[in-house]
Symmetry: C3
Subunit: 277 residues, 3 copies
Amino acid sequence: MSPATLGSVILQATQSEAFDQIENDTLLSSSLWANIALAGLSILLFVYMGRNVEGSRAKMIWGATLMIPLVSISSYTGLVSGLTVGFIEMPAGHALAGEEVMSQWGRYLTWALSTPMILLALGMLADVDRGSLFTVIAADIGMCVTGLAAALVTSSYGLRWVFYAISCAFFLVVIYAVFVEWPQSAAAAGTDEIFDTLRVLTVVLWLGYPVIWAVGVEGLALVESVGATSWGYSALDIGAKYLFSFLLLRWVGANQNVVESAGTTTGSEAAAAPADD
Amino acid sequence: MSPATLGSVILQATQSEAFDQIENDTLLSSSLWANIALAGLSILLFVYMGRNVEGSRAKMIWGATLMIPLVSISSYTGLVSGLTVGFIEMPAGHALAGEEVMSQWGRYLTWALSTPMILLALGMLADVDRGSLFTVIAADIGMCVTGLAAALVTSSYGLRWVFYAISCAFFLVVIYAVFVEWPQSAAAAGTDEIFDTLRVLTVVLWLGYPVIWAVGVEGLALVESVGATSWGYSALDIGAKYLFSFLLLRWVGANQNVVESAGTTTGSEAAAAPADD
Amino acid sequence: MSPATLGSVILQATQSEAFDQIENDTLLSSSLWANIALAGLSILLFVYMGRNVEGSRAKMIWGATLMIPLVSISSYTGLVSGLTVGFIEMPAGHALAGEEVMSQWGRYLTWALSTPMILLALGMLADVDRGSLFTVIAADIGMCVTGLAAALVTSSYGLRWVFYAISCAFFLVVIYAVFVEWPQSAAAAGTDEIFDTLRVLTVVLWLGYPVIWAVGVEGLALVESVGATSWGYSALDIGAKYLFSFLLLRWVGANQNVVESAGTTTGSEAAAAPADD
């Protein structure tokens, strides 16, 4: 067997082994298929809900929101197929040191695509300025990418937690903006009622992800079941993605005039300029 | 041999084996080198054509269009070197099940960079609103990334087609916008003559990619030749990328005043605001 | 041992071997830890410096600038852990042909995230138009990605330099804009004093990266030490990232009124439109 063939065999074997292991673990596979089903239903529902949305801002919020379940269904199909799943040998110091633990690293990668859409929809709703929106989305992507690194480091137990700490530092930037700064913009835009609901939903549920990482198989392994850890993430996704999107779209559909009249801050520098002349 | 050395040997062997296999297959290698040559010529030609472009919108269209052959030459150099090529063992159910098939997975990755440039140039030309442009580009990236997943899944034949279906769903969003929604904006912007030519060129040629996937080695394998499949994609790229870009830039160069006067919708919320005061 | 387990062992062995090799090489590990320390200090300092920044444009510049050390600390933690480091067997023709050379490929990947932030901050400072900013950032990302490809090609010595040449072509676009075009915008915006300092700092230091690639272990290997090559990049990063950011933020903090009043061109089409009515 040539080295290239061996390499090909190894890569395919990892994917197939992950695929089989997921299929034979009811708890684990149900955590993935439940999200594929809910994401699929959400897509159909959201397309239907968006049929009458008019106006540039409302359509942009709708477009960003529709991407959330579309990215999600792709993400969970990747996990179920074993394509974005790997086996990690935990380093010395970890509770499962030396054991091979299934890592669903694809979750972190696709969160880097779906969570910016959530923040974009929230930011457009609150009519925040471009600088704030840009900084928060950049920090959010940083949070996901360093979370991915935390999951994949196997050379040192300490460095797993260093990446965890960096990821949490990015998260603090996001929480501060969404919880402290953006509500003021939302109040000015007249969208504070729905924004307050969504920011509480988002901040509370998003806080759950680092908690699950910390207690699950990738962190302290207080929960040693891959299936239970996976259900933790999947349950949070159901609330933070599909429920969030549904509440947002229902409100936007019923209040398009508020959304459109608010649309002045995002391009505020440009808008301000002629007024100054 | 240490495991780390073995890993390094395997990775390099895959790349070198792909490089050799491409070099020794005239049909396959000509499909790649033809595009490197045409992309190189296009870059030189487009830099020359852009020497007199003035105005923010025309320059942005020119910049996005120039990126198309630049990404393309990088993409094809990656394929020719074997860096972005792999060997996939097809799963049970596939016509070539158990055989190692060369996968040019780098194509899907670089399409995620080049096709947004095409849509950006088209959207700027038609002066569509920001919300629509954003949604269409996000759907386009989703189409490419799930196309990549469809090509790489080896654990299950059915899941290859599930990813294919998801990718086509993203594609429908793109087609609907470019074929049904954007022509209205182009008419309002006075760019409908060239836009109509380019959207027909784009939609017809882009429909060819999923057809080639379906009948080529990665799908039903009705065409079993890697070289013929590769030429299929390469021929489409020549029309959808270099010919498209040339027609667009020639028109923009000759109609800069139309392009500039159209530039009001992209920042429409900002522009509208002072008028409302 | 199953193929999947073997694959997992190989991947982890590469990471651990890189981690150990870095730890036991004082020159190499100091080049990485020095940057982690300086990036950490920069983050704390920049958060403090930004406490009084007001206004949409100034906050956006501050946000983009703060991302620079945040991406940098993530990047260097990835290198130190061995996660984004690999062993490359150089092809025939290379001075170290057949030898395994440590490649810090993670550098190229994270530059694709950090250098756009530098250009975004510079472009906002000079108040350049959106088309120019977009084209330059797209070219910059192209430069980093093809630099990554140049580092990873092992099938052909010639193709390493082809990717190097493509990367330099992208770099020319960036240099031309920052050195020739943007100073005119900065003069018009009244930010030319600080812009001139920063563009010289940026262009001079950025020219160092391709020089180090050419003479270091990845290119001609005139310098054969991985540690010395790594210190070359690390020293450039200290000037081009932390010193650059500090000078920029200090000036923005002291001149917020200039920054705000300049903010008319980025959304110029929108701003111009009502004035035309």
